[in-house]
């Protein structure tokens, strides 16, 4: 495939966002990537609105927990109901954010937030903690890494997830200190076990209240001297974070991870060393780092185009951006996330999603290739995700279902209503003979010869509209479409 502006801009849209949207068809080839990137940055410059999915009665129930008098009156049933409502709200937040990824013009911000969400991976059943951390991540996604690190480290979601409420003078819990260094900043092998012990002491007393506000409990804090990175002093948590940021290894580690996520799973040592140096010198300015990547020549080189396997969220968002749709029941999107192995707000562990080839096994690949068929009613959702006891608390299912198909067990129609007319109108000027290659260019970043031949009889040529629809669905149901 010649690396035209169209290919380059699509590459940019897939990496700096969740793929080209139907509105962009036709305009993509008209600009240079530099012009396009400018527009992308501008679309993300606003502070994101706080997402709140918790209704008033959930807030009211939750406040009952915080008030000692009301708390005493809560029955076991009340508490269970509160837990159930919170889990439901976390699901709503998941779907809300997924829809932002599909529809928001601030693609770069949401994509960056999606990266940080996997980097600062946390699982929490408290909807308010989830909302607060998500806001921290979306708000600081493009600011500076130091602020982001500090805000995440002070978030209730992370402090509780990593047990720092148990980290007290005299009986430290090292979990938080360890993951901050191993996964969030330095990477394994760049600190000693003693550094972890001493950092844990510095983080003693860091916790949060039920409102999700950071609380420093002075009487739990270890005031004695600590020795960290060879320096001795009465350090607190903020001091440790500053010292970690002062270590160039942090810039290197973050840059490499960003490169793997946004550019290529195989890290180019020279390029990332350069990027890290500049990242460090800019005081960890994330926007400048991303600009350095997305405006470089190497980003658009052939070996980086179509070289990434889309994560399940990128796949699901990407399809919906190109063929906007409305689902009868949004829970189908939850089911698909579970089946494909990536659920927003629910990373497998603090290390986040491993990504790359790990997305693909025989089941997940076949499911991925059937999704466009399911969205268009040519196939049904007849797969059952694994039970999840952390969320389901012993119930057989999470009470959600789509629309049953006939009397078949475990088979559901997703019932998506696709908004086709706008999509079809984008191909108005294209000659019938050129339709396949035109659609292919818009959908695929990898050009494997011969794919057209496979379309053969499986496309419906009875009308121009039907032809465009079926070619689109079939091209989305290919191994090539899994790549970006």
């Amino acid at each position: 495939m010649p690396v035209t502006n169209q290919v380059k801009n699509q590459h940019l849209l897939w990496r700096a966002g969740f793929g080209p949207a139907v509105e962009q068809l036709g305009e993509i080839s008209k600009y240079t990537p530099a012009q396009y990137y400018k527009a992308i940055v501008k679309a993300s410059d606003k502070r994101p609105k706080y997402i709140n999915v918790a209704g008033e009665d959930l807030v009211n129930m939750y406040e009952g927990l915080m008030d000692a008098g009301r708390r005493a009156k809560l029955t076991a049933d009340d508490r269970r109901e509160l837990g159930r409502r919170q889990r439901e709200a976390v699901r709503d937040l998941n779907i809300y954010w997924l829809k932002e990824m599909v529809a928001s013009p601030a693609q770069l911000r949401e994509k960056m937030a999606f990266f940080w969400h996997g980097h600062f991976a946390s699982r929490n059943q408290n909807i308010f903690y989830n909302q607060l951390l998500l806001q921290v991540i979306r708000e600081n996604a493009l600011s500076d890494f130091g602020t982001l690190l500090k805000e995440v480290s002070r978030s209730a979601s992370m402090l509780y997830f990593l047990n720092n409420q148990q980290n007290r003078k005299g009986r430290p819990n090292e979990n938080f200190a360890r993951e901050v260094m191993e996964l969030f900043t330095l990477g394994r092998g760049n600190y000693t076990e003693n550094d972890i012990k001493e950092a844990a002491r510095a983080f003693t007393g860091w916790t949060a209240n039920a409102r999700g506000e950071f609380v420093f409990r002075k009487n739990f804090h270890d005031e004695d001297d600590k020795t960290f990175f060879g320096k001795k002093g009465n350090f607190d948590g903020d001091d440790i974070l500053k010292m970690i940021l002062k270590n160039k290894q942090t810039a290197k580690y973050i840059t490499q991870k960003i490169y793997r996520f946004f550019v290529n799973d195989n890290v180019d040592e020279k390029i990332t060393a350069d990027l890290a140096e500049r990242f460090y010198k800019s005081d960890y300015d994330i926007s400048r780092l991303m600009e350095g990547i997305f405006t470089s020549d190497w980003f658009y080189s052939e070996k980086n185009i179509g070289a990434k396997i889309k994560s399940p969220i990128e796949l699901l968002a990407g399809i919906q951006r190109m063929v906007p749709m409305k689902l009868d029941n949004d829970n189908a999107l939850m089911q698909l996330q579970k089946l494909l192995g990536q659920q927003l707000l629910y990373p497998p562990n603090v290390a986040g999603w491993p990504g790359g080839k790990s997305w693909i096994d025989s089941s997940s690949l076949m499911t991925r290739m059937r999704i466009p068929q399911m969205f268009t009613d040519r196939d049904e959702l007849n797969l059952t995700p694994k039970q999840d006891d952390d969320q389901m608390m012993g119930r057989k299912n999470d009470g959600t279902a789509s629309v049953p198909v006939g009397k078949k067990k475990n088979a559901y129609a997703i019932n998506a209503k696709i908004e086709w007319p706008q999509y079809i109108s984008k191909y108005e000027g294209v000659k019938r003979d050129d339709l396949i290659s035109s659609i292919k260019q818009n959908l695929l970043q990898v050009n494997t010869p011969g794919l057209e031949n496979a379309l053969g009889k499986t496309v419906d040529a009875s009308s121009r509209e039907a032809y465009i629809k079926t070619v689109t669905v079939q091209l989305m149901s290919t191994p090539e479409y899994q790549l970006c």
């Binding site: 529809a103 290390a351 693909i360 025989s362 690949l365 389901m392 057989k396 209503k417 499986t458 090539e480």
Partner: protein, 417 residues
């Protein structure tokens, strides 16, 4: 929540009238064509030798949700047990009694019969250091066989598969009876196949369009490129789906199994064991054992399913002379707290017991001491046997594999096989 399109509901939905119905869309291809569509680089390995009958097979039965071990293998003479579980403990007379000290849950009569025949062993106090009480995390630790401070992206059976299927055409040496593949069966180079129902997987894989895509793809030996990796996975899937389906019809068992998911799953496994398939490890799950509330009903219901399905399965194996070749074992991501909670349930705990079922056991019965309820760690059992010792033993002694390489460390060998 905002919608990008305002006219969605009123849009022209002509596409919803079926253009091509799925039934017309599917054309079942013949079995013979499957291997013709393998990419060239895989074809060379197509005719690898099958595992002959009489070979050793492992069936892993995962009890998801954290099964309460103390009400599974019950210390019927332990006062602490009865004291800490005033309403949840199971009285001696109501149980399936094994010894003076030890009884099984009353729903596990078939397990008692297996015990009496010498086909059952019980391993108590199995766990790992620094236990995690999150279902997901603890399950990850059991699946990956990592330390609790490490995060591994591959599973112990997946890495076994890597060793077995080095460049092989189909990764069918390990199968999971499910729609989704567990971490335990994901390797560095290979992933096992998840198949809930061989016929359905065959139907999906034989979608004409998928076969056409594969047929029209000309690999250029760039195996390292992601697109070639995807095509390779697709080819393996289609080939495996054909192979598994064909094998499942070779000697389908005629025995009657209970009409439960586990029953159907074990029936599929039995049919495959009786075939010529090269599968060495089968994986299947039952749940949820997360009994925070009203434990009795939930655990009894699940144990009845397990009891009846395992009975049908072992009867079938015996009838077909394969009981000595098959080792079925159970595990759960953790046990539960010793003391019951206020809702007639139990909360997340630590160490737990495992059942080992086979005609080929060297050591039988209750293999080690029952949990010491007077020596608890903040209300939880202390583990005495690392579960990775069990894995290492099975890998080395039953599957003749290199446990040290697969588990990344040397673990102790146990003597039950």
């Amino acid at each position: 929540m905002k919608n990008r399109k305002s006219n969605l509901s009123g849009s022209n939905l002509s596409f919803r009238s079926p253009i091509i119905k799925r039934k017309e869309f599917i054309q079942i291809g013949s079995l013979a064509t499957a291997s013709m569509m393998l990419p060239k680089f895989l074809k060379a390995f197509e005719s690898k030798a099958l595992v002959p009958g009489g070979n050793k097979v492992v069936v892993v039965l995962q009890l998801s949700g954290g099964n309460d071990g103390l009400n599974t293998v019950i210390p019927v003479r332990n006062d602490i047990y009865y004291r800490l579980r005033p309403s949840l403990s199971i009285r001696k007379g109501q149980t399936a009694q094994l010894t003076d000290e030890v009884s099984l849950h009353p729903s596990l009569a078939a397990f008692k019969a297996l015990y009496d025949e010498g086909n059952l062993a019980i391993l108590n106090n199995v766990g790992y250091p620094n236990p995690d009480r999150s279902h997901f995390r603890s399950m990850d630790i059991w699946h990956s066989a990592s330390q609790s401070s490490e995060y591994w992206n591959t599973g112990w059976i997946g890495r076994y598969l890597d060793a077995q299927c080095n460049g092989c055409a189909r990764p069918t040496q390990a199968l999971e009876i499910d729609d989704v593949l567990s971490l335990a069966l994901k390797g560095e180079q290979n992933n096992a196949i998840a198949v809930q129902n061989p016929q359905r997987l065959y139907g999906t894989a034989n979608e004409k369009y998928f076969k056409d895509i594969l047929k029209n793809h000309h690999d250029e030996h760039h195996d390292e490129q992601p697109v070639e990796y995807l095509y390779k996975t697709m080819a393996q899937t289609l080939s495996s789906a054909d192979y598994i389906f064909k094998e499942s019809r070779l000697h389908p068992t005629g025995a009657t199994y209970p009409n439960t998911e586990l029953g159907a799953g074990l029936k599929t496994i039995a049919s495959l064991i009786f075939s010529d398939i090269n599968t060495k490890v089968y994986y299947i799950s039952l749940g949820s054992f997360d009994t925070h509330v009203g434990q009795d009903n939930q655990q009894s219901r699940l144990f009845t399913q397990m009891n009846d399905a395992v009975k049908a399965f072992t009867d079938d194996l015996k009838k077909n002379g394969r009981m000595d070749d098959v080792l079925l074992f159970t595990f759960s991501e953790f046990g539960r707290r010793v003391a019951q909670n206020a809702s007639n349930g139990t909360d997340h705990g630590t160490a737990n017991n495992m059942f080992l079922i086979s005609g080929g056991l060297k050591k039988k019965g209750v293999l080690n001491a029952m949990p010491d309820l007077s020596d608890l760690n903040e209300g939880d059992l202390k583990y005495k046997i690392d579960f990775k010792d069990v894995y290492a033993t099975i890998l080395n002694k039953w599957l003749s594999a290199d446990a040290k390489k697969i588990l990344g460390a040397k673990y102790s060998m146990l003597d039950f096989i």
